[in-house]
Amino acid sequence: MSDCMSKIIRTTADIMFMFIVVFGFYIVLHGHLTPGGGFQGGAVIATGFILLIVAHKLDDFLGWFKKKAFQNFEMSGLILFIGTALAAIPLGYLFFMNFLSGAGGLFGQVVPYGVNPGFLNTAGTIPIMNIAVGIEVLGGLSIIILYMTSGISNHEEGE
């Protein structure tokens, strides 16, 4: 938007942005233990960025976060997702096989069957894919709003 909101709205958006982003990363990282996952957490983080875009001037926002950063988020998320899926083939497993589950090491802790308190270091490739999809959705939904807002700003200046 070409003009910004009042000072109260801008300050509230600045404060709420931190909590929204922390809550979204909590949903992404605990996707294999609690409800939520990559898409939900990425959408929550993108809502925080959209709050900043709506509350501030577009030029101020582009001074803090570049468009190139969101494009790189989108690309790196997709590459990490497909790379994790393809990494099972040289190791002798099938495509999308969960080869880290129960093998020790990174995310490889064996979980006891039944009700347990929930350990973060479990579930094999599922947390990696959660993080990949979360980064991808964060970049995608933010870049859609950013392109639409910048297109409208150019349109209004041209008149």
Partner: protein
């Protein structure tokens, strides 16, 4: 208690869905749509689907409202009769 909240949420869903259609001001309709999405996420949570509730609250009430308001800002504020 949970049945009372459930019935209230269902009536609120019907009222907000009717208000979206009847509004002449499109900005007011977009904000009413955000309220509709919020009530729908509460309904999903009552029906024990918290995954869908989080996705609906983030996408329906956050992102789609922003997209609607940006699109209304580029065009006209009133519904063409």
């Amino acid at each position: 208690m949970i049945e009372l909240i459930h019935i209230l949420v269902l009536f609120g869903l019907i009222i907000t869905a009717a208000l979206i259609v009847w509004q002449k001001d499109l900005i007011a309709a977009a904000v009413t749509f955000a309220a509709f999405s919020f009530l729908l996420s509460i309904e999903f949570y009552i029906l024990q689907a918290p995954d869908v509730a989080i996705a609906e609250a983030a996408v329906g009430a956050g992102v789609s409202t922003a997209i609607f308001i940006i699109a209304i800002r580029a065009t006209h504020n009133q519904e063409v009769t």
